[in-house]
Assembly symmetry: D2
């Protein structure tokens, strides 16, 4: 069992609002960055996936904010596969500052063809990259 | 019973990504704009609420994407109160293009004091503004 | 002589940084919104311009910040044509809060073909829309 | 003479617009990131500077776009001091993709006190960090 992949985040000054914490929408930017880094780390650079005719589309996300994150904080986003279906998969994200969990997200993606023809079964090379299924945020409902 | 409040959105060119649709994170910006407009429409300008010592903080959001929204589309965000608790409340958002529902969000807010002392009961003036409870997205679980 | 066109801006909470003022990059978003509104006001909706085979590309901008703009401020961006050349034109922008000039920008655009074939002479319909030349920020150097 | 400091940029998918290139405003985000990294590299972490009572404020920027930058491009921002005055200084930025200059910016900053009392002379520790003056974009006018 490999340790949880963690993507480091450099919080931008502009992402921090008047209350001194990262504004909520930027976590979706962090999750998007973390998805790309996670797939690349598992051997599937995003561009290569698209060249092979596949893309992924976000269909649902559920985010919980527990603590704010500030400028200059040492931030990492842990990523893990929470479920794999036929055409869709679920990733868990945990935004941490020095081991403290601040924000969590569970996101459902569907695999689509880049030619606009719609949903596709998860191809084998992506299935292998997403394996194993190890939810960070409890069982998938 | 009053009709559902709808906040118009001018999609910015910069919010549309390479796939020709609004990138996912901007919906959280739209919801934030819609919250502010909704409260103002119900007689609670955000600044006034803060001057009275109250602020609201996002603690959870659940967003579902059904269809993309493009630049130049005629976009509105319908907003309605889905639940009121003691210190927290839930809003439902529905992003529509010409009556077609594209993206929905259900968001939980907690009322806090602006002096940093933490959670507060929903004050009467805010409770009246949020009333009535009319979920857009089905019953609150 | 018609009065200077002014595009109203709703500052988003997320655009305001820890210092309580709009972060610098968002002014380029405001200018982009103002360009689109200015052209539409002069009878050239952006989409229509593109359908006729023309687009405009930003090649240079010069921005000066004099005063910060805050959340809830009553903001307008005045727009005026500062110069017209053969393939390029210059717009002046002035971001004002209740008649006070806060931020100014002078931006050079080049007209390009939407088919990727490069620069084009400013077409007549666009030339008429941009007319008259009335710089807001002094003569063009 | 030390080589020009270069700050690497990971272009985010969301920063790329419908034309397949980074939307103009994000370059101001890149310059802000590069400023922070440049100062840290020269021994002045931004937070430390603020704790010593000093901040810097952007008063003018002049940006020229020559070529678009795309998602996945190997991007770096070269940074160099172009001028030092009494209370203000000028930085030159050059955004490069594999040695090709795509976008350049020249930005004027003024040093201010963090206590709101206004402009300050550039303190010695910052003057040393900004030294030497080596413009990237030609002499300062």
């Amino acid at each position: 069992m490999h340790p949880t992949f963690t993507h480091p985040i450099d919080v931008r000054y502009l992402e921090v609002d008047q209350q001194g914490v990262v504004f909520n929408m930027w976590y979706l930017a962090y999750f998007d960055d973390a998805l790309t880094a996670f797939l690349a780390h598992r051997g599937v650079p995003y561009r290569e996936m698209m060249e092979r005719g596949f893309d992924v589309q976000l269909v649902n996300t559920d985010i919980t904010w527990r603590r704010g994150v500030g400028w200059g904080d040492d931030v990492g986003v842990a990523v893990s596969t929470a479920r794999m279906g036929t055409t869709s998969f679920v990733l868990d994200f945990s935004v941490r500052v020095e081991a403290q969990e601040c924000v969590t997200g569970r996101t459902v993606y569907v695999v689509i063809a880049t030619d606009g023809s719609g949903k596709r079964s998860i191809p084998d090379f992506l299935r292998e990259a997403l394996d194993p299924v190890e939810p960070l945020l409890g069982p998938v409902g």
